[in-house]
């Protein structure tokens, strides 16, 4: 724990709103704090409705991009909270708590090539990671899979290996198969997988990484109440540490994640 303030609550004015793919809306908002401090993989916790208690809790969103004193999030149409947030107009305000959670572990020296594996709407935390890797002059590749070509939110990403379930763009099949194909031919030196997407796809990524004995970090989504470690509401079962008498042990996704090395968790 650092002693400087890592995150804070800020009323943030919405500066831009655009729909980048079917059901995906990007909101750009003024928040110098998030813009300055957010590292790749961190998230913000956004109140769907200021002053009203239904919906009640904040909603977590990855920091999608930052520039100057503004930051962006992608909001995927999911339920009542995201419906309200996605409808926020330019000039309105969001109540934002962040940045929260830990960054992707992109600084480790245990890998040479970062393989960013994205499933569907799990793209949000990847652009900042790619940007950082470029800044750090690291090798990386991006694998991006979706059901069909209308679902890609690829505006901030380069060097993408696309795949689609219906074959409408890139490799016809799953993103994991697409990665496997290239790992099979030894395309990357000392790769590490960074993966975000649906749970099933992340499980497959872990199996793939185990098969090739390469490191893999997954970014998890769990329901959160606080986002800052005070409610204990966001556990993921962990495989690490002495099992207690009760035989279970958990990590908190908000403060110990949202991304975990595949060995740390039971998915």
């Amino acid at each position: 724990m650092q002693d400087t303030i890592r995150s804070q609550i800020q009323r943030s004015k919405v500066l831009g709103r655009r729909e980048i793919a079917r059901g995906l809306v990007v909101l750009k908002f003024q928040n110098s704090f998030v813009a300055e401090k957010a590292a790749p993989g961190q998230f913000v916790n956004v109140l769907p409705k200021i002053d009203f208690s239904d919906p009640f809790l904040r909603r977590p969103f990855s920091v999608y991009n930052t520039s100057g004193d503004s930051a962006e999030i992608i909001i995927q149409d999911h339920g009542r909270g995201t419906a309200i947030l996605a409808a926020t107009g330019i000039g309105e305000h969001l109540d934002i708590l962040g940045p929260l959670g830990n960054p992707w572990k992109y600084n480790e020296t245990t890998f040479e090539t970062a393989i960013l594996v994205i499933g569907g709407a799990g793209v949000a935390s990847m652009p900042l990671l790619a940007k950082q890797l470029e800044k750090d002059n690291k090798l990386y590749a991006v694998y991006y899979g979706a059901r069909n070509k209308s679902l890609f939110a690829d505006e901030y990403l380069r060097k993408i290996e696309y795949s689609t379930d219906d074959g409408s763009k890139g490799f016809h099949g799953s993103v994991i198969e697409n990665v496997r194909k290239d790992l099979n031919v030894g395309k990357y030196s000392k790769p590490k997988i960074f993966v975000c997407g649906p749970t099933g796809m992340m499980r497959s990524a872990i199996l793939l990484a185990n098969e090739f004995r390469i490191p893999c970090e997954v970014s998890l989504e769990t329901e959160m109440a606080c986002g800052i470690g005070i409610c204990q509401g966001c556990p993921v079962e962990t495989s690490i540490g002495e099992a207690e008498s009760t035989g279970r042990k958990f990590h908190l996704v908000c403060t110990q994640g949202p991304s975990f090395a595949k060995e740390q968790i039971v998915l």
């Binding site: 724990m1 109140l47 109440a225 800052i228 409610c231 509401g233 556990p235 207690e244 279970r248």
Partner: protein
């Protein structure tokens, strides 16, 4: 402008203001300190601590409901040893009162935990809140809190172990809270706090599974404020010891409601999740409210509910 006295004294302990944060909704202070000037709070009630560390319940532990949430954390905590070794010393850094909340599955465990904290107490630890009202563990919790005799026995067992505040935290999940309040007073408690969460449930209609792993969980947040107020009111008529009001507080006006029905102090719970600095915000809102109303002493608000004569005559 006249000085506003926000201080409240209960059982000889002077709280700088009536706004505390509730057990389980503020961790051990270290997590929230980035967002909140902890020293501005009247006090902190720490997460329930048990003898051994508890991992807590399997996920899913929380679910949003209309104007509230259900939780079944299952008393996840570091255990009393880590609590006194790591958490209490850290909390000494703040100019606020600390109340250690204790959960256990037997009278003996309650006593052991309290004794261990007592022996290692930090200087700003002013008392204990005894959680007999957690709905989310199979052992202990509600099996104590829904049985007047057990609450009485437990209070009597704990009372000799400390000169600090002994506060019993009661559950709303009883037909009547009055006998519990009376029993706490009779067996030596300095105060009671209420309410803990209300038993509730939510179902995922697609999987047909409960949304909370333990099937039922505890409901908290604005949804339960009316229930909490009714329970505090009932308890106020049943005992004379101070009451700490808890349940759905999100504003200074909510605090006033609890004080008026009879609470001397309040605790803010779930609202900390939305805004970890809400305690301080409510404090200054509350101070302004008193100024507006020309009230110089917060204690003058306590238990000042006025019922119309007409309604009193009808027995209300």
């Amino acid at each position: 402008m006249r000085e506003i006295n926000m201080g409240v004294s209960i059982g000889g302990v002077e709280f700088q203001n009536p706004i505390l944060v509730a057990s389980g909704t503020y961790g051990y202070g270290s997590e929230a300190k980035d967002y909140c000037d902890i020293s501005g709070l009247g006090g902190i009630v720490t997460k329930s601590v048990s003898w051994k560390p508890r991992p807590g319940n399997y996920p899913r532990r929380i679910v949003e409901t209309a104007s509230g949430m259900l939780n079944s954390i299952g008393l996840a905590n570091v255990g009393v040893h880590a609590f006194v070794d790591e958490k209490l010393p850290y909390l000494e850094n703040f100019n606020t009162k600390i109340i250690a909340n204790i959960a256990a599955s037997s009278t003996e465990e309650y006593c052991n935990v309290l004794r261990h904290i007592e022996e290692n107490a930090s200087k700003n630890l002013v008392g204990y809140e005894i959680n007999v009202s957690c709905p989310n563990v199979k052992d202990g919790g509600l099996s104590f809190g829904t049985n007047v005799a057990r609450v009485e026995e437990l209070t009597k067992a704990l009372r000799p172990l400390t000169k600090k505040l002994l506060i019993i935290k009661l559950t709303p999940n009883v037909t009547s809270v009055a006998p519990f309040a009376a029993a706490c007073e009779a067996s030596g408690a300095d105060a009671i706090s209420l309410i803990n969460t209300v038993l509730g449930m939510s179902v995922d209609i697609h999987t047909r599974m409960p949304r909370i792993s333990t099937v039922t969980g505890g409901l908290s947040g604005p949804a339960i404020k009316p229930i909490a107020l009714a329970k505090v009111y009932e308890a106020r008529k049943a005992c004379t010891i101070p009451i700490i009001g808890i349940g759905g507080i999100t504003s200074a006006s909510d605090v006033m409601e609890f004080l008026i029905v009879g609470a001397s102090l309040v605790q803010i719970g779930t609202a900390n999740f939305i805004n970890p600095n809400i305690g301080n915000q409510i404090f200054s809102e509350l101070r302004n409210l008193l100024i507006d109303k020309g009230i110089v002493n917060i204690q003058d608000v306590v238990a000042t509910l006025k019922v119309a004569d007409q309604m009193k005559a009808l027995g209300w």
